[in-house]
């Protein structure tokens, strides 16, 4: 079905890192950088903590959080206990695997923290006036009085309290299987929280986790564009006039972030050509 021979079409593009090379480089580096500044083609990656792909340990105190960067970034919204909760949860929502890091390494905690500290967290672009109808049919959409920041703050506190009460343990220290069980119950709405439907809290947590995983790294997550490398998305690059109709093209290009000076140069270059 191949329309043309595509093998030599993209030889000018920087060679792509293999997934394993990237991961090794990332694991070996040792410097924490919240926002990557890797220029296109630069074959090194900034850096995570010791063992981003290591399986979570089951022992209390050595749980999934052990995968987090050694130095936690400055947080504007979450306190330390909330941050531990979020890291433990997102580590199960998008876990590391043998080839690709997960949401913790990618800085999704930083992403969510910044989102909640800003206009989104405060309910920007949301009609929040009463009266409220929290038991409305789902077709009528969100009908609670909370801002996203309140959903996180209240949800985390109430889930932690529920876990303490039912399991006599801190959520972040439960270990992978038990955290999965709690998250599954939240998703299904099976846990009765005092002031918020557990499925609502879960869906806002998951939505923000996926957004932090895939959004441009300027927003604090998707470190080193790891999610883009995983699926092969070139990011803010935007010039496919010559390649869009090449069938089955094995397109390999170092992705670019909005933050990259190279991205700007690529765009300006594209304009000048046309």
């Amino acid at each position: 079905m191949t329309k043309r021979d595509t093998r030599d079409r993209d030889r000018d593009a920087p060679s792509a890192l293999s997934r394993r090379d990237l991961f090794k480089a990332a694991a070996a580096a040792g410097v924490v950088a919240a926002v990557p500044t890797v220029a296109a083609g630069q074959e090194s990656a900034p850096a995570p903590s010791a063992s981003p792909a290591g399986p979570p340990a089951a022992a209390p105190g050595a749980g999934p959080v052990a995968q987090a960067p050694a130095a936690r970034p400055v947080l504007f919204f979450f306190n330390d206990e909330e941050a531990r909760f979020v890291e433990a949860a997102i580590d199960r929502l998008i876990p590391a695997d043998p080839e690709w890091p997960g949401a913790v390494w990618a800085g999704v905690l930083t992403f969510i923290d910044r989102q909640l500290a800003g206009p989104y967290g405060d309910g920007a672009k949301t009609y929040l006036a009463g009266p409220w109808t929290p038991d409305a049919p789902p077709e009528q959409g969100y009908q609670h009085r909370y801002t996203p920041a309140e959903i996180f703050r209240i949800g985390i506190a109430e889930v932690r309290a529920h876990v303490t009460e039912t399991r006599d343990a801190e959520f972040a220290e439960l270990g992978a299987d038990a955290i999965d069980a709690v998250l599954t119950a939240l998703e299904a709405g099976e846990i009765e929280l005092p002031s918020i439907p557990s499925a609502l809290f879960f869906s806002v947590l998951l939505d923000n986790t996926v957004q932090g995983w895939f959004a441009d790294p300027v927003h604090g997550g998707n470190r080193d564009m790891v999610s883009w490398r995983m699926v092969g998305f070139p990011g803010a690059y935007a010039q496919y006039l010559e390649t869009v109709d090449i069938f089955n093209l094995d397109y390999r290009r170092e992705p670019v972030s909005i933050a990259d000076a190279a991205a700007r140069a690529v765009h300006l270059g594209g304009h000048h050509e046309h």
Partner: protein, 585 residues
Amino acid sequence: MAVRLPEIDVVLVGGGMTAAIVGKELAEAGQRVVALERGQMRQTVPDFQSPTMHDELTYSIRHALMQNPEQQTITFRNRPDQTPLPMRRLGSFLPGEGVGGAMVHWNGVTWRFQPEWFELKSWTEERYGRGFVSDEVTIQDWGVTYDELEPYYDFFEKICGTGGLPYGDLTGGNPFGGRRSNPYPNPPMKEPYALNLFRTAAAGMGYSPFPAPSSNATRHYVNPYGAELKPCMYCGYCERHGCEHFAKASPQVSILPAALANPNFEMRTGAWVTRIEHDPDAGIVTGVTYVDAAGREVFQPASMVVLCAYAYHNAVLMLQSGIGQPYDPATQTGTVGRNYCYQTFGGATVFFDGTVRFNPYMGAGALGVVIDDFNNGSMDHSELGFLGGASTSVSQASGRPIAFHPVPGDTPGWGLAWKEAVRRHYNSTLSISAQGSSLPHPNNYLGLDRTYTDAFGNPLGMLTFDFPDNDRRMAAFLTERCVEIGEAMGASVVEGNDLAEHYSIVPYQSTHNTGGTVMGADPTTSVVNRYLQSWDCHNLFVMGAGVFPQNAGYNPTGTVGALAYWAVDAIKNQYLRNPGPLVQA
């Protein structure tokens, strides 16, 4: 006490596509025209430039270019016996805010409706008999025909620089379209692999695939207004984003440069219209009241008012202003708010499971291959059990990964299995989408809410809508066809996308809201006549998709543009010479 400004000739409510068209044309005809836009000025440079425009989170997910529900939204319910509740966040549809309106963040798909759609009631009765659709399907004729609109479609395509193939089997274009006086002004877009797979499968099944009509420019082009469009780069940031490349037709690129060059035209931003003022005894409007950028209430007197706001908002503003008789679903009387329609989708998601590379991020808003074999005028409905139809297509608009990471339906929503499925399917999955028509139902309408108010203290608009049974049957039929085509493409998994049990305001479906200010030949079932002139006040005209009596299985923008040029022609050449009703009720 409102500040009273000097009288002008024409005031336009809104600063989007139809305001740009009407403003340009009437200013050129010597009228002093002011467009009142609630949002801000924005231009391709500097506002839509890369790399910052290529920020999926800010624009696609957090809706940077869209209306802000915090200031004004609508309430929603499925049925008249429910309590309407506010749409607290944008979801199902995304109206724009700021100069250019929703045409800044549209995709650029530029259709003409099939000829019979403008005479749907007559056509259906003649073809299938009077009893074919139930009385609950309140379809009607538009009062204008395709042949009358054809020159205006043609001109709007030239303004937008639309690319496509001429209609007909021999040309490779749509064999089911109406008569065309001219070919498209530009050639069609390129054809990526996913689209070619669809073309091959559809052609093999006897259907007639053709490239989607696209206002993402396919070459350097100068339109009749002297505005320049530049070639699309297939950047994949089209819908929900502004175009950095001057390639997607928008008011900023295609129309406003000509309008703003005329000293007769003023775009006044930060101006939020709260009321159309009218004199019921004289049967005229006298101007509009708005809150200006500084927060002052201002009365702008005008000899003519043209409503150019987003589709449903024109109906809401008429209701808030007490112009025309509000529609009442209990008695099925009244006209303002009547025949709200939407878009009804069938479709299939087609998984090739890593065996192909589609590179979905190499895309453009209107990059698609379409078959029209299932559209309304293409089919014999005798044995189908429904009226209506769909444009059925595979498009490659974007691979932006927050929104686009398809996984098979049995995949968990999170965890390792989800992550692995996302990685596996990102580059080898396509969707076949059947964009179906939407027929009116007596319960589907726009009204005013009794509980909730906007930032200016006025009642919110209220939407009541669910999919009528006719449209449900159509969607089921369309999904079956999409699944058949998907299977013919040789995919590993094909999943049909069934219509939800009830319409939901939450997931994005389409910014193709229609009706509420519908046009027609009968003042008891329409708000405006065939020239989009109010039956109640002869110096009030209403633009936009709100005038559609029922929505077709196509994107609406081409028809909105054609109707705007059709109406403005009547205003210039008939109304201004002899102000008064252009059609006698």
